[in-house]
Amino acid sequence: MTINGWLQIFVFLGLIFAVAKPLGVFLTRVFAREHTFLDPVLRPIERLLYRLTGVDESHEMRWTEYATTMLIFSAVSMLVLYLIQRIQGVLPFNPQHFGAVAPEHLAFNTAASFTTNTNWQAYSGETTMTYFTQMAGLAYHNFASAATGIVLAIAFIRGIARRQMNTLGNFWVDFVRCCLWVLLPFCVVGSLLLVSQGVVQNLRPYDTVKLVEPQQVQRLGADGKPVVDAAGKPVMDTVTTQTIAQGPVASQEIIKEWGTNGGGFFNANSAHPFENPTPLANLIEMFSIFAIGSGLTYTLGRMTGSPAHGWAVWSAMAILFLVGVTTAYWAEAKGNPLYPASIAQHASNSQPGGNMEGKETRFGIANSALFATVTTDASCGAINGWHDSFTPLGGMVPLVNIMLSEVIFGGVGSGMYGILIYIVLAVFIAGLMVGRTPEYLGKKIEAYDVKMAMLVSLVFPLIILTLTGISVVKGFGTTGISNPGPHGLSQILYAFTSSAGNNGSAFGGLTVNTLWYDAATGITTLVGRFFMIIPMLAIAGNLVQKKYVPPSLGTFPVTTPLFTLLLISVILILGALTFFPALSLGPILEHLLMQVGKTF
């Protein structure tokens, strides 16, 4: 670990701190339908959209209608995405002449994954998707699923803030305002910033360039494995050219991060030089992942009239973030103890050192560990280095972050309603300790609310552990493993954790484009998204009807460091202990075996 590395981490955290209040205030104004400086441009587009789609702006929805509308919209837009993939061969913007996305289970998996803000990718972008599918299918869902997440968080906060009412807002109005005010303007500016760094943005066919030095390479078969001749020797080809994939990348790259989606234009995601060409671009991307999550904590405080509460939640998130990034950075900087002694693995001013397998030179160790922590604290899932090649403990950090339900700044919106579930449980536990009915910001937390919160907390580990269990004992599961030993369990565990948490990053060596993994992870993303949302909205629908109870001497204050500490404890106890047995058989065991020199 270097001083420069730590400086970069703290500069990043400083930016996330600085953006919380201005963005939080802006979000509050947008969803309260107050005037903003963007109104002259956006208000006419907003009105046009309502006219085209028949939305009544003044209509207010109860939680059930809000949830139904959201579900119908998700289902319809998911179906459209499935269809776009299946007919992309005849649609425009297809200079590489790709056919339909096949087989069907891959198209289903991708549709489910992008609709749920997961962006799990069982395909490789540059060999599968046309520019039209990337823009109108995948990048569109980056907007739609992000907006859906954000408005659900806003609806939940309204449930706390409003008193003795029935309604949580209008899904369509919230959705449109979120797309137009919160997502689109930043994406226009941000995508041009990224282009200025070297992220490509074009519609041209892939370029073929003449290599400076022709190369002898192994011929690969359709399965990606080297072809061998009769004598068992690999068949070699002389390669004189390189084909360079192009595309409208920057416009998709920025919403991929700003909406914590994570689905890369290219297979290598944010490690690809055309997606993330410079360390400055890397900083812009990481900032974009955390910005809205950070801003929403301030929105929570402001909408409920307790800004100090927002900061108490922000602090809990920042502390958990620092614990994660410290662990990952420390583990990766140590390097691989199994390498021979003739290799320099210590950092210096002229080399990054550390565990560089699956990492880019320009990012080195600090930025790769930081990116991995950020992308899994949030439910983003973009990567700038392969988590599968991280050291066992370094790779455990992203895994644990997702297991904690991605509430550390979190996915846009989903991080906020995720942590609100933990907050409900935290104040409930505090209430039990003093023997009083718990209150949260003036609302009594009662049996119904806690039951719904527990439902959310139980569905998540249930689906992860059940499907992981099935996959490790059945052939259709274990054939996908590429790294044997305890790491194989980690690969499968990561796949289901990532899809249930709607993250989308992976221990990428696992072969997942099979009927079992496409179907199982596809369904898991749907369960992980909607089985979280419905009980969460039910709590909001219940809270919104309750009277305001003024704070008394027995009320547990939610603005103090004690609350921050209690919240962290609840997150760690509930989230991590559920998964400790699985973690001890995966990354922890692998770490111990690596220390004694065991390989697989």
Partner: protein, 194 residues
């Protein structure tokens, strides 16, 4: 219910046109006007031929060039098929590969420890850069092959080293393609770039 279904369908279409078609096309036009070279991938030409992108790595294997990092993109630096090995640190295949590459490199320059980035595959398989230490490690071999003084090469590497962005971000690095083109220019009387 039926009303919501119709609204959902119309909303999907309308917002797809706005966010999935108009927005990316607008950005494409702006990018092509404002940052033409960067928006098209920073292609590099020599003698009128396009020979690569500045920020997409390509393989160099002969002794007279600075070598790029090992690559797992397709069958090596396949820029239409990016990716890494995804080998775990405890995977025997990784350890075998690193050991055998390390012993070859050690023979080439026994006086220095081998910088780890020169033995490990990058995440994209298209890493255009190596660390300054990895370039330094290769200087004796290239000096031998090309009959150029090591000091001259050291100066060339230094002038092609990018420092951290804003003096803070990322890692110092050397662009392999640019360095090798400059190397060709240095040792060939007729070498030209345009």
């Amino acid at each position: 219910m039926k009303k919501h279904l119709i609204t959902a369908f119309l909303m999907t279409i309308a917002t797809t046109i706005l966010l999935g078609v108009i927005y990316p096309l607008l950005i494409t036009v702006l990018a092509q006007v404002l940052f033409k070279d960067k928006a098209n991938g920073q292609l590099r030409y020599r003698n009128g031929e396009v020979i690569g992108s500045r920020i997409i790595g390509q393989a160099f294997t002969s002794a007279k060039y600075f070598h790029s990092r090992p690559s797992a993109a397709g069958n090596g630096y396949d820029a239409a098929n990016s990716g890494g090995t995804n080998l775990a640190p405890t995977n025997q295949k990784l350890i075998d590969r690193v050991r055998s590459d390390a012993s070859a490199l050690h023979q080439e320059n026994p006086s220095q420890l081998i910088p780890v980035d020169l033995l490990t595959t990058s995440a994209s398989g298209l890493d255009p850069e190596i660390s300054p230490a990895a370039a330094e490690f290769q200087i004796p071999r290239i000096a031998r092959e090309r009959g150029v003084a090591e000091a001259t090469l050291r100066k060339l590497v230094q002038s092609h080293t990018d420092q951290r962005d804003l003096g803070l971000l990322g890692e110092p690095r050397v662009n392999v393609l640019e360095l090798n083109l400059a190397l060709d220019d240095l040792t060939s009387k007729h070498g030209q770039t345009d």
